[in-house]
Symmetry: C2
Subunit: 281 residues, 2 copies
DNA sequence: GCGACTGTAACGCTGCGTTATAGTAT
DNA sequence: TATACTATAACGCAGCGTTACAGTCG
């Protein structure tokens, strides 16, 4: 039978299902050293009883403590309570679980968005669709967005996002962006908009106090998918013509929703895929 | 107004709430490079439109993808579906959440154990307590544990644990260990035990098929806390004397439960704190 | 010309896994 | 002597943070 008080590092490792490197590391950082080191060869020798300490280390590790934290815990006497740290860790884990659940929400939303995109009609095709109520946050510029270029549009969007960032409204809650042309500007000869918006996830469970949210009503929308930035005026005109041709009644404001804005690394061009729509009755 | 198509790395970093190092890293690994690099100075210049790509990167990062994975996703065209990866990631997160919930169970059990320990009577004091039904796994040795030394006890325990490890019964489910003296050996002049056991968490939701579990019945136990290893015979004798003195009836087997076995790094001595008990009626 | 900015390069963090090279036990 | 074992040292992993030192912008 092997000597239970003089186990080589390999024997100790095998007995406890850890690697020798792990044991060497624990020795090095002062977490668990061998009971004896041969002064001639430097060989580490452990006793079987130390596997109990190793058990505890692994247990703490399982609970998510760092080696440094475990070192503190291990060296405590039995009387000093570890409860505080355990409860703290418990709270941390709760927070982590919550974060992961938020991740899942994000993923599910992306999946929905992806599925939605796939089933969308081709560019330029006009179609009817029912849309649920949507929450948005609006940012007003001091110029006509429809006449400005892509960079200014992006900049305005960035300012809005940064505002939301500053008031701690998590980015994960908003995704698609777009512009609104109010009804009163629809019938003028030249279209005008100074409002960009961000869509807010319907599942958002938290809003800062000082945020002003607008609702876009549910209903039937006449829609068209587009792929060129800064051609909103052209597309919108086509849409309005269709409204007139079919004899629909315009109800509310005109909306342009950016569905997808694709970064491409190979060429330096941005690709777009967005949808414009107008509520009718 | 700043040039929205020639943002320095600092300006870009500020606009998007990332650090310059992050942008440099993303450039280096080919995830997101500046649109222009001054060939003279090597200065990086970004356009505002690239913050959209950065948004996506951060969004993917939030969902727990690695930079390498994000790189793949970003370079995909809109037509190739990212659904597979999203769903895979979703499953990963579910598994992670499950793991964390197991962690919490472990922590809560440790907290219970800790609170229990604090309220325990002093060493040597005999007291009555009600104990719930317990599940244990037993390992039989071919020698009298009460006559063997600490190392052999630890070794037997290790063999049991390794057996459980091999049949994939997670370590987190068992905690306290102990020995049993069967009733038939209680009345002999010399105490005998060849069974050590591990307590199984009552919340364990999984058992391997080929495991044999024994139940220790609920009921009233006469108990005593002890602090010296290998003195079980002495303590047990005291306990049996108390039974006789008070006129209790022994019901079932004698149990020795190791409550705490404390590793101490400062001196090389192990410290113990265990409880022996016998069911009475 | 000064301060704010930018560049590259290198080390640090965690918890080991993975070589590489050299000495040791049996 | 063969071979299984052990030692130290160093690099790698992810995603940056953090120096340090030198050149550049307004």
């Amino acid at each position: 039978m092997m000597d239970l008080t003089k186990l080589s590092i390999g024997a100790m490792a095998k007995l406890n299902h850890v690697t020798e490197q792990t044991l060497r590391l624990y020795d090095k950082i002062g977490l668990l050293g061998p009971q004896h080191i041969d002064p001639q060869t430097g060989y580490r020798y452990y006793t079987i009883g130390q596997s109990m300490t190793l058990d505890m280390i692994l247990y703490y590790k399982h609970m998510g403590f760092s080696l440094e934290q475990i070192k503190e815990e291990i060296n405590k006497s039995i009387d000093s309570p570890m409860q505080i740290n355990l409860e703290k860790r418990n709270a941390e884990i709760s927070a982590e679980i919550k974060r992961l659940q938020m991740c899942q929400k994000s993923i599910e939303r992306m999946l929905r968005k992806s599925r939605k995109y796939i089933s969308l009609p081709r560019t330029g095709e006009i179609f009817l669709e029912y849309v649920k109520e949507r929450k948005i946050i609006i940012y007003r510029t001091d110029y006509n967005i429809l006449d400005s270029d892509y960079n200014h549009y992006q900049y305005a969007l960035r300012l809005l996002k940064n505002y939301l960032y500053e008031i701690n409204f998590p980015m994960i809650y908003f995704y698609n962006a777009g512009t609104i042309i109010r009804n009163k500007y629809l019938n003028t000869s030249s279209l005008f908009s100074n409002e960009i918006y961000l869509l807010i996830d319907e599942n958002a469970d938290y809003y800062p106090n000082d945020i002003s949210i607008e609702m876009i009503p549910q209903g039937t929308y006449l829609s068209m998918c587009c792929s060129r930035f800064n051609q909103e005026k052209v597309y919108a005109t086509m849409l309005l013509e269709e409204v007139r041709r079919k004899g629909y009644q315009i109800d509310g404001d005109y909306i342009c929703e950016v569905i997808s804005e694709l970064p491409k690394n190979d060429d330096q061009q941005q690709q777009f895929y967005y949808k414009i729509q107008i509520k009718i009755r």
